[in-house]
């Protein structure tokens, strides 16, 4: 009930009209969706579609990068002696104790012009001398990956810890190459943890607005920022609701594709 009523309300609102003072007028219209598809007052423009696509790409890249980083990390932790394992897990978890806003500001600090990373980039002529590394998509990805990495590492670690190593040995004994050992003996066993981690990353990453806001600058708008803007500054709830529903639909599609990919991998 508590979950469905707001969702149903959102659907209803998305077909309503914005009044001149930002109130909701219950006049049924498709206009919000048309606007989202790019049909505005001044003809067709793909701005909103670009935002949706960019969000999808950012979420997918973040998830993939997190998985790529989490695998070695999870195996590294699982291979430590018991006592050290907890220490490493705590190190992974500690960032959670800090608010995401503060962590994101911390990235601004890390990427600021006086610190080695920006100076190194300046020396390589990637950015002009004396300027920070943000706002940039690089900064957004750094922020996103660091925010979501623990969500992949922890479930993946729990799978890796339970890994039946005799299967790995059996694969090795049966003439498997390293790649085949990974695909056939390790991946299927870690898939449960991996998919939990991927979903925990992909879904919130689709709706993330804080990190792109602080590290991406005004040009780097994602769906999350758009929704926040509509419900906040613009006071256009109906359009915000339409965008939210579009985000939900996109997320579901993304998850569906991911699940299909997961199933395919099992057949490899």
């Amino acid at each position: 009930m508590l979950l469905t009523i707001p969702a149903l309300a959102l659907i209803a609102v998305s077909f309503a009209t914005r009044g001149s003072y930002g109130e909701i007028q219950w006049i049924f219209t498709w206009e919000n969706y048309e606007r989202l598809m790019g049909y505005g007052l001044f003809g067709w423009s793909p701005d909103y579609l670009w935002i949706l696509l960019r969000s999808l790409v950012v979420a997918a890249v973040t998830t993939t990068a997190c998985i790529a980083l989490a695998f070695p990390l999870a195996f590294f932790i699982a291979r430590q002696p018991k006592k050290k394992r907890y220490l490493w897990l705590i190190l992974v978890i500690i960032p959670f104790w800090t608010n995401l806003v503060i962590r994101t500001y911390a990235w601004q600090l890390v990427l600021s012009p006086d610190l080695p990373i920006a100076q190194f980039a300046a020396r390589l002529n990637i950015i002009p001398q004396g300027s920070p590394l943000y706002p940039s998509s690089f900064a957004v990805y750094m922020g996103m990956i660091s925010a979501f990495l623990p969500f992949v590492v922890l479930p993946l670690y729990s799978s890796v810890e339970k890994l039946d190593w005799t299967l790995v040995e059996a694969a090795y004994d049966l003439y498997s190459s390293k790649k085949r050992i990974f695909l056939q003996a390790i991946l299927p066993q870690t898939l449960p943890g991996l998919s939990v981690g991927a979903i925990l990353t992909f879904v919130p990453a689709m709706g993330m607005f804080l990190v792109p806001d602080l590290l991406g600058g005004a040009k780097y708008m994602l769906v999350g920022n758009l929704i926040q803007q509509q419900f906040g500054k613009s006071r256009d709830w109906p359009f915000g609701a339409a965008v939210s529903l579009a985000l939900m639909a996109l997320t579901l599609i993304g998850l569906f594709v991911f699940r299909r990919k997961g199933e395919d991998m099992e057949v490899v």
Partner: protein
């Protein structure tokens, strides 16, 4: 293919898992590593498979050292204790695994998998998954998976320990038949002495990382070379003995041996079957004593004598009761002198 382990040593921290172990397995032989848990037998098997590296020593296959060849390139396959079947693959795909790793053409893979499943009487289970099979069937899938790769040496790590006793006896006989048929070298690890005696050409008895005795099942059972082997295999009467001239003085009386040992103080081992009940005093190695316990065991009577707590087996039709006075003869050929 012959298999040789030469001076293999392996430590885990402070624990010496293997100490200077030498074994030699001839082509087509079924060689068993037998010992209590923790004796190092599985470690030796894993070193042969290449899943573990020895600290010292070399493994030779057909006289060629293979210590530096990784497990996925050795012509050796393992049947794991837990079977280690891939749960997300059908049994046929499991059996096909090693062949596909070697990139053998798919038509040939199919043929070999079919033949492998048939050999193990699993033809109708190819499309099912391992968790849909019984323990015995899973064990056969694991066997088929290893055998379709046509390894020169097949390693079996306690392949029957998870099965119930009746099934195990059955599979032991099948294993023996199979090995005779395909004439490959098998190395079996077990802690089950009956299994070892039933299936092996040769047995190596291991304890604390050392090989104590290597021999045929008959040699191991009839001529144990130390107290541990005598006690580990079957039932043994161990009598402390001392050599006095031409006779052995023991706690149960003087005994005559066909061949005298070269030590002064030691012990004599005799299996319960080597002691016979007699009506009168026998010509040599006779002991007169009373029966202290009798247990009816179906196929035999398990009799314990007062003198030296000697245990004797005799046919179940014998009318013997506790307290009866009897003569027994310790057959001289059945007496084994040990010194340790």
């Amino acid at each position: 293919m012959t298999l040789e382990a030469y001076a293999i040593s392996k430590n885990y921290g402070d624990v010496q898992a293997l100490q200077d172990v030498d074994i030699r397995v001839e082509t087509g032989e079924l060689f068993t590593l037998l010992g209590p848990s923790g004796c190092g037998k599985t470690t030796l098997l894993r070193i042969i498979a290449g899943l573990e590296k020895a600290d010292k020593g070399t493994i030779y296959l057909n006289g060629t050292p293979v210590s530096n060849i990784p497990a996925n390139q050795r012509p050796v396959n393992t049947v794991f204790q837990s079977y280690a079947l891939f749960p997300h693959m059908t049994n046929a795909d499991n059996v096909a695994y090693g062949l596909r790793s070697r990139k053998i053409p798919e038509t040939e893979v199919r043929k070999k998998v079919e033949a492998g499943l048939e050999m193990m009487e699993l033809s109708e289970f190819g499309d099912r998954f391992p968790n849909q099979l019984s323990g015995g069937q899973r064990q056969r899938v694991a066997m088929a998976r290893a055998l379709v790769c046509e390894p020169e040496v097949l390693l079996l790590d306690e392949p029957m320990s998870a099965l119930d006793a009746k099934l195990r006896t059955n599979l032991q006989i099948q294993l023996r038949k199979l090995q005779k048929k395909i004439k490959k070298t098998f190395v079996l690890v077990t802690h089950d002495q009956d299994e070892a005696l039933t299936v092996s050409d040769k047995i190596a008895i291991m304890k604390n990382g050392k090989v104590l005795q290597i021999g045929s099942p008959r040699e191991i059972y009839d001529r144990p070379n130390c107290r541990f082997v005598a006690e580990f295999i079957g039932t043994a009467n161990i009598i402390d003995a001392r050599r006095d001239g031409d006779v052995m003085t023991t706690s149960v009386g003087d005994m005559i041996l066909p061949e005298l040992p070269d030590w002064k103080d030691g012990a004599l081992v005799i299996r319960p079957e080597g002691i016979l009940l007699r009506n009168d005093k026998p010509a040599k190695n006779g002991v007169q004593t009373k029966v202290s316990e009798v247990y009816y065991r179906g196929t035999f009577l398990d009799v314990t004598l007062e003198t030296g707590n000697l245990r004797v087996r005799c046919a179940p039709h014998n009318k013997i009761e506790t307290g009866d006075s009897v003569w027994v003869e310790l057959l001289e050929d059945a007496l084994v002198a040990i010194h340790d």
